[in-house]
C-alpha cells in the first residue's frame, strides 16, 4: 500500500451498503467486491489528492428497513456523505429519504424501472429505455409476439412489467399471462407457474424474478422440459452471477439485455476482469451490476479529485456531465437526471455459462428514465 502524504487531514470516508446475507446477497456480494476493488485500485495509486479512501461497510441483509437505518447510521454517526449501495428498488426507495434529508449522495449501480429522479442519487445502471426496449424488440423479432410475464412480487418487477406490457402491446404483441411469486420463492413454487405457462404456449417468457429464486425459476423451467431455443426466458437482471448459481446447463440459450457482459471486448474490460478474478478467484465472473459498482467509484474519485471535498453540493455538479472509459465502453453521467448514458447489449448464455453478445448499440444510449422520447414503437436499429 502506498504511503499517504499526511496533510493533517484524515482519509476520505465513504459508506458501502450491499447485502452479504438475505435473498439478494449473491448479486450484491459482487457489487460489494467490485466497489472494494475500485477503492483498492485508487488507494494503491495514491488515493485522491494524497488521501486514502476508507470504506465504512455494513451488511443490510437484503432488508429495506435495515438499509434505511444503516444509511442513517453512516450519515449521522460515521459522518459519511457518499454512499455506494442498493440493489433492489425497495432498498433504494428506503435509503432515498435519508440521503435527501441529510443531503448525502447515493451511488446506485443497478438496472431499475425508471420513473424516478432524486437530487441526491447518481444512477449508474440502465433505465428501461436502455434495456427493456432493445430486449422487447429482439424477442419479438426472433421468437414471436406472445409474452408471458413472471416476476418477484415487489416494486421493480411490477413496474418493469408495466413498461414491457406497453412496449409489447404498442408493437402488435400480446401478453398472455402475468404472475408474481415471493422474493423467497423456491423450486416448488415455480412448478405450477410453469405448467400454466405450458398451457398458455407463449413465444417468450419475460422474467423479472430476482435474487436466489432466479435459479429456482430456470431450474424448474429446465425440469419442465421447455426448450430455450423455442421459448427462451428473457431477463434484465439474470447476470453471470445468477448463471453461475443455477449452472450453465440450465442457463444455456436464455437471453439477457444488459449494458455489460463479462465477454465485452474492450481493453478496460480485460483489465477489470483480470483484476477481479485475481482478487476474488478465477471462478468468479464479473457481471453488469459489479461493473457499474466498479466504474461508479472511479467516476466518484475523479470528481472528488476535482472538488477536494465530499460536500454533496460541490461533488454532485462535478459528477454531472463527466465521461469515463468503463469496462462496457465510454459512459457519461447525464446532466438532466443524473442517470448514466450506457451501452445496450443482448446476450445469450452459451454452454460454458458465458454470454455470447448477439447485438449491441453503436454507442452510448442516452438515459431517458421517464421514457419521454422512447419506449412506444420500437424503432429498429
Amino acid at each position: 500500500m502506498a504511503g499517504f502524504k499526511s496533510r493533517g487531514l484524515g482519509p476520505w470516508r465513504v459508506g458501502v451498503l450491499f447485502s452479504r446475507s438475505g435473498c439478494t446477497a449473491v448479486i450484491e456480494q459482487t457489487q460489494l467486491w467490485a466497489t472494494l476493488l475500485a477503492l483498492e485500485e485508487i488507494n494503491r495509486s495514491g488515493g485522491v489528492n494524497g488521501r486514502e479512501i476508507v470504506p465504512v461497510v455494513y451488511d443490510p441483509m437484503s432488508d429495506p428497513a435495515t438499509f434505511a437505518s444503516y444509511a442513517k447510521r453512516l450519515m449521522v454517526e460515521d459522518g459519511v456523505t457518499a454512499i455506494f449501495g442498493c440493489y433492489t428498488s425497495s432498498s433504494r426507495k428506503a435509503v432515498i429519504p435519508v440521503v435527501e434529508r441529510l443531503n448525502g449522495l447515493l451511488w446506485y449501480p443497478t438496472p431499475y424501472e425508471g420513473f424516478e429522479f432524486s437530487p441526491n442519487v447518481i444512477y449508474t445502471g440502465p433505465a428501461p429505455n436502455q434495456n427493456s426496449v432493445a430486449l422487447c424488440r429482439f424477442l419479438m423479432e426472433r421468437y414471436g409476439k406472445r409474452f408471458c410475464l413472471i416476476g418477484s412480487d415487489y416494486v421493480y418487477p411490477r413496474e418493469s412489467n408495466r413498461i414491457m406490457r406497453e412496449l409489447v402491446r404498442a408493437n402488435g404483441g400480446e401478453i398472455c399471462g402475468e404472475t408474481y411469486v415471493s422474493l423467497r420463492a423456491r423450486h416448488r413454487d415455480f412448478v405450477p407457474v410453469l405448467s400454466e405457462i405450458k398451457r398458455l404456449r407463449p413465444d417468450v417468457i419475460f422474467s423479472t424474478v430476482v435474487g436466489d429464486s432466479t435459479s429456482c425459476l430456470y431450474q424448474a423451467y429446465h425440469d419442465a422440459g421447455f426448450d430455450p431455443r423455442v421459448i427462451p426466458i428473457g431477463s434484465l437482471t439474470t447476470t453471470e452471477a445468477e448463471v453461475a448459481a443455477m449452472g450453465a446447463d440450465v442457463a444455456e440459450g436464455h437471453i439477457t439485455a444488459a449494458s455489460y457482459f463479462e465477454s465485452v471486448r474492450t481493453d478496460q474490460n480485460s483489465s477489470f476482469v483480470r483484476k477481479y478474478k485475481k482478487r476474488y478467484g478465477e471462478d468468479e465472473p464479473t457481471n453488469m451490476c459489479a461493473e457499474a459498482a466498479y466504474f461508479q467509484v472511479h467516476i466518484f474519485a475523479k470528481a472528488l479529485a476535482h472538488t477536494d471535498s465530499l460536500d454533496t453540493d460541490l461533488l454532485r455538479p462535478a459528477v454531472l456531465g463527466t465521461e469515463f472509459d468503463a469496462p462496457q465502453g465510454t459512459v457519461s453521467v447525464s446532466e438532466t437526471y443524473a442517470h448514466t448514458d450506457l451501452w445496450t447489449r443482448i446476450g445469450r448464455v452459451d454452454s460454458h455459462g458465458r454470454f455470447e453478445i448477439l447485438e449491441q448499440s453503436c454507442g452510448q444510449v442516452d438515459a431517458d428514465p421517464y421514457l419521454i422520447g422512447s419506449g412506444r414503437v420500437l424503432a429498429c436499429g
Binding site: 434505511a68 437505518s69 444509511a71 442513517k72 447510521r73 450519515m75 449521522v76 454517526e77 459522518g79 428506503a94 432515498i96 429519504p97 435519508v98 440521503v99 435527501e100 434529508r101 441529510l102 420513473f115 424516478e116 408495466r162 406490457r165 406497453e166 402491446r169 404498442a170 400480446e174 401478453i175 421517464y370 421514457l371
Partner: protein, 197 residues
C-alpha cells in the same frame, strides 16, 4: 411584544399531543405548563428513552449526544415535529444539530414567547415538508397516469374510431360518472382491450 395566546392560535393547538423528553428541571416544568396552556396533551418522558415516542405531534428534547439514534424514524420520513432545546451562550454541536433534523429550536431559559415561536415554527415546517413529499408522490403517480391515458386514448381512437378530443372527453366523462381518477379509467380501458384482443 407578547404574541397573543388568545383566540385562534390557542384553538389551533387544542388537539395537539406533545412529548417533553427533558430532565424535570425548572425549564422543563415551565415548558410543560406552557404547552398545557395551549391545551396540548403533554407527556413527560425521562430518562431519555432509547426510542423516543413517535405517536405524537411534536417532541421537545435536549440536544443530547446520540440523539439521532434515539429518534425512531429515519431522516426524511419524520413521524412528528421535533423541537431541540438548546442552552444559551454555548455553541451547540452543529453536526449533531443538523443530523437530528429538527423543525425548530428553543433556547433556555425557556420563555413563553420561545415556546410559542418554536411550536408554531416546528408544526408549520413539519406540515409543509409533509405537503411537499405528498406532492412529489402525486407527481410521480401523475406521470405514470399520463402514460396510461395516452395509451388508452390510442386504443379508443383505433377501436372506436374516435378523434383525439373525443377520446379524452369519453375518459373524462367516464371518470366523472364513476367518480374515479381518469388514470384508473385509462387503466381499465387498457386492461379490457388486452383481454379482448
Amino acid at each position: 411584544m407578547m404574541p397573543s395566546t388568545e383566540g385562534s392560535s390557542r384553538a389551533e393547538f387544542a388537539k395537539f399531543d406533545a412529548v417533553v423528553a427533558m430532565r424535570r428541571d425548572e425549564d422543563a416544568e415551565f415548558l410543560i405548563r406552557e404547552l398545557q396552556h395551549t391545551r396540548a396533551q403533554v407527556r413527560h418522558v425521562w430518562p431519555l428513552p432509547d426510542r423516543l415516542p413517535e405517536d405524537t405531534d411534536v417532541v421537545f428534547c435536549g440536544l443530547e449526544p446520540g440523539l439521532p439514534g434515539r429518534i425512531p424514524w429515519v431522516p426524511g420520513e419524520p413521524k412528528a415535529a421535533l423541537v431541540v432545546v438548546l442552552a444559551s451562550g454555548i455553541m451547540p454541536d452543529l453536526d449533531l444539530l443538523v443530523n437530528s433534523a429538527p423543525d425548530a429550536v428553543l433556547y433556555r431559559p425557556i420563555t413563553r414567547n420561545g415556546v410559542l415561536v418554536s411550536l408554531v415554527l416546528a408544526r408549520n415546517h413539519f406540515a409543509y415538508d409533509r405537503r411537499l413529499r405528498w406532492r412529489i408522490n402525486k407527481l410521480d403517480e401523475s406521470l405514470r397516469g399520463m402514460r396510461a391515458v395516452e395509451r388508452a386514448k390510442q386504443i379508443l381512437m383505433h377501436t372506436r374510431q374516435m378523434g383525439e378530443e373525443e377520446a379524452y372527453r369519453f375518459m373524462r366523462g367516464q371518470a366523472m360518472k364513476r367518480r374515479a381518477p381518469i388514470s384508473a379509467i385509462a387503466a381499465t380501458i387498457i386492461d379490457s382491450h388486452e383481454m379482448l384482443s
